[in-house]
């Protein structure tokens, strides 16, 4: 009982909260573009949240807010009640961007090990090797990004996001360039990692199946300016495996959310 309570207190460190958040981007000559409006949702500690929505609706903007890369124009963004920048300063955020952001002059292995150097820690070689293994690019450890396929680059980026054992994992369409088979395998791996380490995770994706398979909550966003169309809890038992993909309840939910997504797109 006390242990659970203690875990709860410590756990509050990584709950995500967006309170009535709006974001205006400044575009040319003092004009502004409203990218997000009245975004309000929570991702409780150690849960998995997936964000889906038409492209350009502001999904990456949500992720940038949580990474502390962007200040909201209005409203509040917190991680465990604190500003995202404070959490970043403690090196507890892991992130994989849409455009992988690998350093072209480093090998895959050096890219995965980069965060250690970036925050001034000694490189944990065993951990780097384990992660390269996990994402299935151990054989390409010595290759540079220019020699890797798009999917391989994204896998390197995911390994890099995990290497510092983050409390919050932010993933921006990380499987976009992957083939269906690899994607399913990595989905299972992500679920395994997530359940082992209890990382609060926010995944931006355009695949409804992926969102439903992985998430505890699916947030559906509408066309620009991005608003929340729906917050859908997903209650399938864990661990989830391939058999879920064939379950009628799974398909019903996917169809339902796809319809919501289409409606959100048309409304704009």
């Amino acid at each position: 009982m006390t242990a659970a309570a203690g875990a709860k207190v410590a756990g509050a460190a990584f709950a995500l909260a967006l309170r009535d958040v709006s974001v205006n981007y400044r575009v040319e000559r003092g004009r502004t573009l409203r990218a997000l409006e009245g975004i309000d949702f929570d991702v409780p500690e150690a849960t998995f949240c997936a964000v889906i929505g038409p492209s350009g609706c502001g999904k990456s903007t949500v992720l940038r807010l949580l990474g502390g890369l962007l200040q909201p124009t209005a409203g509040n963004v917190t991680i465990g009640g604190r500003a995202p920048r404070a959490v970043a300063a403690e090196h507890r955020l892991g992130v994989a961007f849409q455009d992988h952001a690998l350093l072209p002059w480093l090998t895959a292995r050096e890219n995965v090990a980069l965060p250690f150097a970036a925050v001034g820690r000694r490189v944990d070689d065993r951990r780097v090797d384990a992660l390269l293994d996990l994402v299935g690019i151990a054989d390409f450890a010595a290759a540079r990004p220019g020699q890797l396929s798009g999917g391989m680059r994204q896998r390197v980026a995911i390994a890099r996001a995990l290497v510092l054992d983050p409390g919050v994992l932010l993933l921006d369409e990380p499987f976009g360039a992957l083939d269906a088979v690899t994607r399913r395998r990595l989905n299972l791996e992500v679920q395994r990692i997530w359940s082992e380490r209890a990382i609060t995770t926010l995944l931006v994706t355009h695949s409804v199946e992926e969102a439903v398979f992985l998430a505890d909550t699916v947030v559906v966003m509408s066309q620009r300016p991005g608003r929340i169309e729906r917050v859908q809890p997903v209650t399938f038992a864990r661990p989830r495996d391939r058999s879920l993909l064939a379950a009628p309840a799974f398909h019903a939910l996917v169809d339902d959310l796809t319809a919501a997504l289409d409606a959100a797109d048309v409304l704009a």
Partner: protein, 251 residues
Amino acid sequence: MNARPWRGFVAGYWPVLLILAGWQIWIVAGHVARIVAPSPLAVGREIAAHPALYAAAGGATLAVAAAGLIIGTALGCALAVLTWFSPLVTGMLTLPAVLIQSTPLVALMPVVARLLGYDERTVIASAVLITFFPTFTLIASGLRALPPGTADLFDVLGARKLAALRLLVLPSAVPSLLVALRISSANCILAALVAEYLMGTSGLGRLFATSESRFDTAAAWAACLVATTVSVAAYAASRRLERAARGRFPA
């Protein structure tokens, strides 16, 4: 391939032949007197007659120019990094740097020489000055051309500014450094030559000055030809370095 070895030679050296031919035509068609400009052949004979003299002078000029190149590049990089730390410093350094670059240094050579001494130090200083500015400008913009998303990555990781500088920003500027080297490696030889000439210290510049005062144009042009050759060789070397690094540091 081997049946026509001259083809490869022409492909690589037509500019040399073209310039030599242009030189000869200029002199013949323009009725240029021998005292103004010698023919290529006369210059070739002059070098062939005193190979050791020209090699020694070329080596001396190369050495001071290389010293100037190294110091100027280091200075340019160091100041460019300062500008990366603070936009205030950027603003403060830019105008003075342009001012120094814009000063007709040749004109102020007597002043510089008086400050640093009538010796190699002033020659090195003029090579430094010609190297410094392109390096500073190109590196300062190279430090801002980071691979997409990587600055955000370091931000989210909470990396220290120094770590970002070492791991991300400096490697990103390597292509700019290579272009700067390409420009400066050739030019610092010429800057050294002019300084040597004006002060009559040593190397090819002095050789040129003494030959000129004897009205020995063949010898004067021979000194210039050696300088051109060294400068082109320096350019080729920096180009090779750039090619080797391009694979690893794509621009």
